[in-house]
Assembly symmetry: C2
Homo-oligomer: 465 residues x 2
């Protein structure tokens, strides 16, 4: 049946038959995202090997009236990288080259399909860090992280992906290539197309190559795990640590419920700081002695007397396990609804306190697990025990967050998961401006229809397969 | 004759008669920019006092078919903030309020018309720094600095204005207000309208309020002035200082020709490091002892043995005078052509070496003065002895920079000064994408026509005055 779709033959002429998938068994891996909550049938999967091939694929899809879903490592959590039904999936996985690290400018250019872990290892060998880290590092690709303006564990020190971007190359909906890989630290020559494409979730263009700003690797690091009696205390301790100039890289927050879930799933012992209602996991790095710096900074603060400290690799990993193994422990308990939201420091504790009742009202049997990046205000709201298409809790949580002046999307993007509620947080004026930009750069609505903004047309029906 | 223009009466109804200027003597201050090279007649000047008034002014101008030039402190250097002929000048000067510093999030919201110096003093009193500084600080407004994505003296430590933006409020061409002042550190909910408006030079919207990210003020600072025998040596010394983790805030570069010009104009003595072909002026700040840190970092480097060091206010200002007084010394010598360009570190010295011959070829009698922010690769190319409309040198310099992989616009913007050469540096694909975005958000071409991109229509003729 593969040849039943003339587009398949057409695209095979661009990328080679071996990089054009139509067999349903082969398509399956591209059709469902990490949450297992979002899934749809692909018309076909095409795996171009270069920017020029991406451009030609886009032009031929446009000619055929096909819609296109760009896909990186397929670690997305909002259904933004899998088909809704009948789209062409354009995988960037083969465009994964790593250019030599430019040690003079402290930058590197990599293919969009390179995994974060591959890029991390590549630049570490040259004495640099990407400044971005997240649990899906072995699978998540840099291109997808640009498309979603990914955040993760080190945003408080290094910013989100947009801040780490020195440039990119992308293919627009008309098949034209925008290439901004010159690597200049300063460049004000018109609209910031690089920043605009970052966070646009594949709806304005397909990122093919990325130039990253690096930071010098600071060898001396320390990890500290604190127990705290309340979320207010966690927020207060972190604010004071920052005021005192503690050389923080990460400040992760989780509650006792997450510790219980992790211990049940993994068999880990109780945390060395003791079990408390709230926990703060701090990573610090400095050219000066970070252990001494953190001890001084924690002096007299809430939770400071509980501090479990490690500055060797095994010890630090043991402390991080309580945080890093939360996601797999949730996954083992079921298919969660995942809502990543963010709050200002002065509203964080109140919103967190309000969420259990909000969830219980909407779904009395649901199980709520909260953790997040306190350093930048992100809360990962995980709700277990819901049907995949039961969105009552999603809406209730997002409304609660907005009522606390928070955002409905911190770092996962909007995708299809939150598109129905974007209006809760973005004004009509902003949505009109976004729709105008989308229409300007993709008038036919070809790229990732239905993600982020309403689709401007129905995708063509999938051919039989 | 003020009443001859019905739009004047209409707008006076919005802002009050006292904030509507039509008298040619009063308009003059708004019609010529800092360079004195760019000048044009204004139809009228309107000075709204709030975002709502800006929106209403824009709507009424649209209805009247008038074009609008937004203006801040009028310290622009590329003709982007003064009329070309017949536009309404919309001054943001009255929208200059300073909200209380938010010490928990480390942010502040200010009016677009607030001067940089006013904001600096305001946040310094609360223990914070804006992370942006430039010589025009007493006059330049924050809104204008957002519109041009301003850089200045501390970009190597804190980034350009786009990196300092936590949000903004702006009026679009249809009079709608986009307000993103929530101050969340992380927010991925659609296209980055804030970043897009930053650097758009008033062509996509009029910035009315700005939320800035602050950095904790580091009290201990030191200034070091070095003499170097070549530009290569200056680049090499700076690269090694960064590799060694020197806590640099600024790294300014200037040549002996600039020192001679400043000494001739100001009567300053020879620099304490001695006069050398190239000079590097370094500012460093650290919670640890920055004097010791800089001494250690400079050990064995080119120019290190010439170091003049000051860590008291008077001594630091004396060293900075050689850099800060360059612009006024140039201005005293004539009306310069100013071209701000930027280069990668590995191309910086070669481009600088090539420029004298390029200028001499195009204008044998011209005088070239070079200085800039080596920390981010910016070179301010100043050429004296040219007629205002003699653009042969401008083009030759920009072509030389592009041939060295540099950008034709580092921090002043494109304005009208460099619009004819934007195509040297931005591809047809990028220019088409920019034009599409402009047409999407300002279909009538009402905002700052002719700046950055070609005007899509002729402005209406100015009424008699």
């Amino acid at each position: 049946m593969p040849t039943a779709d003339p587009l398949a033959a057409d695209l095979a002429g661009v990328v080679g038959q071996q990089h054009l998938l139509v067999d349903p068994d082969l398509l399956a891996a591209y059709e469902t995202d990490w949450t297992r909550r979002f899934s749809g049938r692909a018309r076909l999967v095409v795996r171009p090997g270069s920017t020029a091939e991406v451009a030609e694929v886009v032009r031929r899809c446009a000619r055929a009236g096909a819609t296109v879903v760009p896909q990186g490592g397929n670690t997305g959590l909002v259904g933004g990288g899998v088909p809704r039904g009948g789209e062409v999936v354009l995988s960037l996985a083969r465009i994964d080259g790593l250019d030599e690290v430019d040690g003079v400018s402290g930058q590197v250019t990599v293919g969009a399909g390179a995994t974060l872990a591959a890029v991390q290892a590549h630049v570490r060998a040259a004495g640099w860090t990407v400044g971005i880290d997240l649990a899906a590092r072995d699978t998540a690709t840099v291109g997808g992280m640009v498309a979603t303006n990914a955040g993760g564990l080190q945003v408080m020190r290094f910013g989100t992906m947009r801040a780490r971007l020195a440039g990119l190359e992308a293919v627009l909906a008309d098949g034209s290539v925008v290439s901004r890989l010159g690597g200049l630290d300063k460049d004000t020559t018109g609209y910031d197309l690089v920043g605009l494409l970052c966070g646009s979730e594949g709806t304005l263009g397909i990122v093919t190559r990325v130039r990253l700003r690096l930071a010098p690797l600071v060898p001396a690091g320390v990890t500290v795990l604190l127990g705290l009696e309340s979320t207010e205390a966690a927020v207060g301790t972190l604010a004071e640590l920052r005021r005192r100039g503690a050389p923080l890289v990460s400040a992760e927050w989780f509650q006792a419920s997450a510790v219980a879930l992790v211990r049940g799933h993994t068999g880990l012992p109780a945390p060395p700081c003791g079990t408390h209602p709230d926990h703060l996991l701090l990573d610090a790095a400095d050219r000066h002695d970070p252990v001494e710096a953190m001890a001084a900074a924690l002096d007299g603060l809430d939770g400071g007397d509980t501090a479990a400290v490690a500055d060797d690799r095994a010890g630090r990993e043991a402390l991080w396990a309580y945080r890093e193994r939360i996601t797999e422990s949730i996954g083992a308990a079921g298919i969660p609804h995942k809502l990543d939201v963010a709050l200002r420091p002065d509203r964080f504790a109140a919103a967190v306190a309000a969420l259990p009742a909000v969830v219980a009202d909407a779904a009395p049997a649901a199980r709520l697990v909260l953790f997040g990046h306190l350093g930048d205000g992100t809360v990962h709201v995980n709700v277990l025990g819901l049907a995949p298409d039961d969105t009552a809790v999603d809406e209730a949580v997002l409304r609660c967050v907005v009522a606390h002046d928070g955002t409905i999307g911190a770092e996962h993007g909007i995708g299809v998961a939150k598109a129905p509620w974007l209006h809760l947080y973005r004004s009509d004026e902003e949505l009109r401006a976004m729709a105008a930009i989308k229409a300007a750069l993709d008038p036919a609505g070809m790229l990732n229809p239905g993600v982020l903004l309403p689709a401007v047309r129905r995708p063509p029906p999938a051919p039989p397969r």
